[in-house]
């Protein structure tokens, strides 16, 4: 035997480190002198000590290096050594936790057994666990499984760390016998993993297992045996649901499972050509196998429930109870959260809960949703046999709207509603979320709301508003740029036109600009959504050539309104001063830019100047945003009044101007970070920007001597309702941001 001692060094940090010996350990055997022991460090804070003794019990007090201040308690696995002298009758492995703050060179330990301390000098050379097990196995013979079991259990007790679990698992792997295979597996939507295969000794009902999966993890397996006639010997089929205790399992990384029988640890391997099921296929598999399954009542009930889970079908419409559900819109809101809007008809109140499930997560929506009137649903089902006599014809609150933050439909996982019906049945309704929340989709959604009703207000405050806040509109991005005689190198001022989808609007606006000599000579930057670029580019080229305009046409991604277009276009010119103009805003007279420029220059460029804008019927659309001192609210003063009311008015500072038409410094705009993207309409976006500018020392000035004209698009009809709602939603968002500041403003 070599005289070199094993060294275990414990450091101040509390971590330990094996100082590996230089000599090989291949020829080591279990020391039988009762004074020497082998040491196998596990990770930084545990060591296994192996030797022989006259007697040994567990747990056993331990002194490291014989030092009473380094007292530990070890779990000890023992085996009887047949034919050995009495002083070496017991072989042992002590699992010694090292709870040490300082550095320590471990040379010996004292084990107290039955009150008698026994000192063991440690073989200086540390033994890796993989080498230790054959040594133990050789000595313990048939007892090795029990020893390994005790060791494994001790290793997995208490403070768990990777090294310990790995050590435990390697003990199990070294000693546990293969007992069968998992042939079919799939994730259940409730988070468990469905397993199907065969085994000789897998316990039925619930048992604790260890799963090799990027390391080893404890889990609960609830299994039932399944009669199979394709297996020989004592093997049986099984189905089970594996529930992770801590981390969720990735089914693809599952390697094998350890389970314990009366005879020790066994493994279930994953069959190399196993079948992986989609979550929606799992219930059908369970339903298929359930008639042949045997287990306790609870287990069978659990499996039955799992077989009733969502399998991709709409089972709400199969319910024989008067419950039906329909969806109008499901949006995976960019930025996070799911927005659901639809109706549920449940006149008898049989539905206990409605849970929205997506990507393994779920959230009850029935407690927070806003119910909305849907008389069309009442009317549609009034004559339906299933609902005969139970629909109250005066009650229409079947619609609902809910925004659920934190859920998303990532990874192609199914998204659905889970309805719990009268406490004992589940029904499901698949949902198909759209990823992008287009303006059109929003309009469709909002068109069902009535801001004058409490439901509408609640919907805004609880759902639409927060959704808008969460909505992560990407900043508009320039995709393409085409210049038509464009040159802004010598111009301090550029006109920036923000356009939407209407080519005619841009054409007319450019033509009118061309007819004003002072504007016709300015560089003009026109920004349009990429979708219209193709149509509009040839038209802009034609107009630029015909009218002799200097135009840069920018196509940008993420442009939903003029403000987005402005934002993109701002990066498209070097001019210091920008005249922003929505393409729907038309000059009433030539010379309007010069007047705005004069007022702007007179204030040193430290101002945002907006003109009066009138509607097509000569009523006022914009004449400054003012503070209503009584209500402490911002109001667009004079809006809707005949334009005569501002005749003769002088230029004056207002709380906010309008970005529909204004002159402002490019640097000032850039310094505010541009327009907020959580608004639906341009009015509140502009107002928000003006307040940001005001905070940055750039006030807004209303210049009534300049008058522009603009009509509302989408006049009347659903457009009006949409605008009203959008204004309400925007006002909510605006107030959340600015109400404190506004409350402290002086008019």
């Amino acid at each position: 035997m070599t005289s070199i001692h094993a060294l275990v060094e414990a450091r101040h940090s509390g971590t330990t480190e094996l100082v590996a010996a230089n000599s090989p350990t291949d020829h080591l055997t279990l020391p039988l002198d009762g004074e020497t022991a082998l040491a196998a460090p596990i990770g930084d804070d545990l060591v296994l000590i192996c030797g022989v003794a006259a007697s040994m019990s567990s747990p056993a007090p331990v002194l490291l290096n014989g030092d009473p201040t380094l007292a530990m308690t070890a779990t000890v696995a023992t085996w009887r050594r047949h034919g050995a002298p009495p002083e070496a009758a017991i072989g042992f492995v002590a699992i010694v936790p090292l709870k040490i703050a300082g550095r320590l060179r471990l040379r010996s330990i004292v084990l107290r057994c039955d009150g008698q301390p026994v000192r063991y000098t440690l073989v200086k050379r540390a033994v890796p666990l993989t080498k230790l097990m054959p040594i133990l196995s050789q000595d313990a013979g048939e007892h090795i499984a029990d020893v390994a079991d005790t060791m494994a259990q001790a290793l997995m007790k208490g403070r768990s760390n990777t090294a310990r679990v790995a050590a435990a698992m390697s003990l199990l792997a070294a000693t546990a016998r293969n007992d069968g295979y998992v042939e079919v597996m799939g994730p259940a939507d409730s988070g468990e993993i469905f397993l199907q295969g065969w085994s000789n000794a897998l316990p039925v009902d619930q048992s604790r297992v260890f799963v090799a999966h990027d390391g080893y993890h404890a889990a609960e397996l609830t299994a039932a045996t399944v009669a199979r006639d394709d297996l020989g010997g004592g093997a049986q089929g099984f189905v089970g649901l594996l529930a992770a205790a801590d981390v969720p399992f990735d089914i693809e990384r599952l390697k094998h499972l350890f389970f314990r029988t009366a005879e020790g640890w066994r493994t279930l391997e994953i069959y190399q050509r196993r079948v992986l099921l989609a979550s929606t296929d799992v219930p059908a598999h369970i339903r298929d196998v359930l008639p042949r399954a045997s287990a306790g009542t609870e287990t069978l009930q659990l499996l039955r429930r799992a077989g009733e889970r969502f399998d991709g079908r709409d089972t709400v419409s199969l319910l024989d109870k008067p419950i039906r559900l329909g969806m109008d819109l499901v949006v995976d809101v960019p930025g996070g959260g799911l927005l659901v809007s639809g109706w549920m008809l449940d006149p008898e109140g049989s539905v206990d809960s409605v849970i929205l499930r997506a990507s393994g997560g779920g959230a009850p929506v029935h407690a927070s949703w806003t119910r909305l009137p849907r008389p069309d649903v009442t009317a549609a089902f009034e004559q339906n046999d299933l609902f005969a006599g139970c629909i109250d014809p005066r009650r229409h609150d079947h619609g609902f709207l809910a925004f659920v933050p934190g859920l998303s439909s990532a990874d192609d996982e199914p998204v659905y509603f889970e309805l719990s019906v009268e406490s004992n049945a589940l029904a499901f309704y698949p949902l198909k979320p759209v990823r992008a929340l287009s303006r059109r989709a929003l309009e469709r959604l909002v068109s069902t709301l009535d801001p004058r009703m409490s439901g509408g207000v609640k919907a805004i405050e609880r759902h639409i508003g927060p959704m808008m806040q969460a909505l992560d509109h990407p900043a508009p991005r320039i995709v393409e740029m085409r210049d038509f005689e464009f040159d802004d190198s010598a111009s301090r001022t550029a006109l920036v036109m923000g356009a939407g989808l209407d080519t005619e609007e841009v054409s007319v606006a450019l033509s009118l600009l061309a007819l004003d000599p002072e504007v016709a000579d300015m560089p003009i930057v026109v920004c349009v959504p990429i979708a219209t670029f193709g149509d509009i580019a040839s038209e802009v080229q034609r107009l630029s050539a015909f009218y002799g305009l200097s135009v840069r046409l920018i196509a940008a991604d993420g442009v939903q309104d003029a403000c987005d277009a402005f934002e993109a276009a701002i990066g498209g010119t070097k001019a210091e001063t920008l005249v922003l103009l929505e393409s729907g805003v038309l000059p009433r007279q030539p010379g309007w830019v010069a007047r705005m420029q004069r007022a702007y220059n007179a204030r040193g460029g430290k101002v945002l100047i907006s003109p009066t804008i009138v509607f097509e019927d000569d009523s006022i659309r914009f004449a400054g945003t003012w503070l209503d001192d009584t209500e402490r609210l911002l109001v667009d003063r004079f809006i809707g009044y005949p334009r005569d009311v501002v005749r003769g008015a002088e230029a004056m500072e207002v709380i906010a101007g309008t970005t529909a038409c204004c002159i402002v410094s490019r640097a000032a705009l850039a310094s505010t970070g541009g327009f907020g993207r959580t608004y639906l309409g341009v009015a509140e976006k502009g107002r928000d920007l003006c307040l940001k500018l005001k905070l940055a020392g750039i006030p807004s000035l209303w210049l009534p001597e300049v008058e522009m004209v603009a009509a509302d698009e989408d006049h009347g009809g659903s457009g009006l309702a949409w605008r009203r709602l959008a204004q309400r939603i925007d006002r909510w968002s605006f107030n959340r941001r600015w109400s404190l500041l506004v409350a402290n403003m002086r008019g």
Binding site: L586, A711, D714, H715
Partner: protein, 435 residues
């Protein structure tokens, strides 16, 4: 310029050889008159379009017209904005003519089909040229064929606005109508002056936003050599009982009102000698509901009405020989229908609706009779008067003043051009692009 003859380019939306509308005839007559009166030299450029086949490389063509007449093919026309999208050809071909002719005056007799851009193009090409526009109806103001009659009814429109126009065309937003109004008006203001054959039309355009001082009323001149004699009556008891309708048979022209009135005049009044003679066509191009209505009315009127079909303007004197009265039952305002001058020229009193250009040109009880627009009852009363008052026709005929001929019309225009040219010379050329 005062020492040499004025060079004028008359631009028309159509050539009478291809399209016999009032505007086309008026513009062509102006061109002819200017060349005839001296001190002016006119060229005529008229728009043609589908189905006339054009040359590939140029929009210009002559189609074997007379010297000094040029045709210009334009088809990419936006009827809503009165805009020509083919600005490339305006610059290449239309402006080539303008630059080479170097006119002192470009007179647009309408721009439908040509596009308002032509005005701007001329202004840019020749900053000092005098641009005159003649209005023939309310197309700039009203998208409903410039008639200022509400769609879906025969209700007259008294004033356009984006909201009112949207009520007529719900599929077109007020915002688009606002754009139309500003676009059309702004481009019109590139012109120096506007001519209208009626004060009524001037008032409408001024109310719409064009400056009153830029307007002159000049009646269209007639190109007729001599008036025809009154229709010879068979005997001393013969009545002036031949009524005529001249013009297209469209919903705006009120032919249905006229037919209804004729059918309901008592037989004792109508007699054997009375007759309604309809000279005009295009009924087959009208909406089927209107065609059915007219057919039913004609059936009811029986032999009282006779259809003579479409006619050429040159046939007018011969047609006038066979009639005593001209009836203009239009349910729209009209501007100055040439048939009024023609009837007056030949000494035929008129019975007309009491609105717009008709009421302005025809004085009730002096040279004609008015009836309430759209009212067949009132028209019956007027026709009964005409049939029963033996001296009425002569009295009204005596009240007719001779309308101007094309030479007189051209002279008035020439004088106007000279005024405008001398005024224009005082204007700062830098302001020329100001609309």
């Amino acid at each position: 310029m005062t020492n040499r003859s004025l060079r004028v380019l008359v631009v028309s939306h159509g050539h009478p050889s291809f399209s016999l509308g009032g505007g086309e005839i008026a513009s062509y007559n102006l061109h002819k008159g200017l060349n005839r009166i001296g001190d002016a030299e006119s060229r005529f450029l008229a728009r043609v379009g589908h189905p006339v086949v054009r040359h590939g490389g140029t929009a210009l063509l002559s189609l074997r017209q007379k010297h000094g007449e040029i045709l210009y093919h334009a088809d990419e026309y936006d009827h809503f904005l009165l805009s020509n999208h083919n600005t490339d050809e305006i610059e290449r071909d239309f402006l080539r003519v303008v630059r080479e002719l170097k006119p002192d005056v470009v007179h647009f007799h309408h721009f439908i089909g040509l596009g308002l851009e032509c005005l701007y193009a001329v202004r840019r090409a020749l900053p000092e040229v005098v641009i005159v526009v003649t209005f023939h109806e309310f197309l700039s103001i009203c998208h409903h064929h410039g008639q200022m009659v509400k769609t879906g009814s025969t209700k007259l429109c008294h004033r356009s606005s984006p909201a009112d126009c949207n009520a007529c065309f719900p599929e077109i937003s007020p915002a688009r109508f606002l754009r139309r109004e500003y676009f059309v008006r702004s481009l019109l203001q590139v012109a120096d002056h506007f001519v209208s054959p009626s004060q009524f039309l001037v008032d409408r355009y001024v109310d719409w936003g064009l400056p009153a001082e830029k307007f002159t009323v000049i009646e269209n001149g007639l190109d007729i050599s001599a008036p025809v004699e009154p229709r010879p009556l068979p005997d001393a008891k013969g009545r002036r009982a031949r009524f005529a309708y001249f013009g297209q048979i469209t919903a705006f022209k009120g032919v249905d009102v006229l037919l209804d009135a004729v059918a309901r005049i008592p037989e004792s009044v109508w007699g054997d000698d009375a007759q309604l003679m309809i000279f005009g066509g295009n009924l087959e191009r009208q909406p089927s509901a209107f065609q059915e209505k007219i057919k039913a009315l004609v059936e009811r009127a029986g032999t009282r009405v006779r259809f003579y079909g479409a006619y050429q303007n040159s046939e007018m004197p011969r047609l006038m020989k066979s009639i005593d009265w001209t009836i203009i039952p239009s349910i729209w305002w009209e501007n100055s229908p040439i048939v009024i001058q023609e009837s007056f020229f030949h000494g035929r009193p008129l019975i007309c609706s009491n609105v717009g250009g008709m009421a302005e040109k025809i004085t009730d009880g002096v040279d004609g009779l008015h009836f309430r627009v759209g009212s067949s009852e009132d028209l019956i009363d007027r026709m009964v008067e005409a049939l029963t008052d033996a001296t009425l026709w002569d009295r009204l005929r005596a009240g007719i003043r001779r309308p101007i001929d094309i030479d007189e019309c051209a002279s008035v225009h020439r004088d106007l051009y000279r005024d405008l040219a001398s005024h224009r010379a005082e204007i700062d050329p830098a302001a020329i692009r100001t609309a």
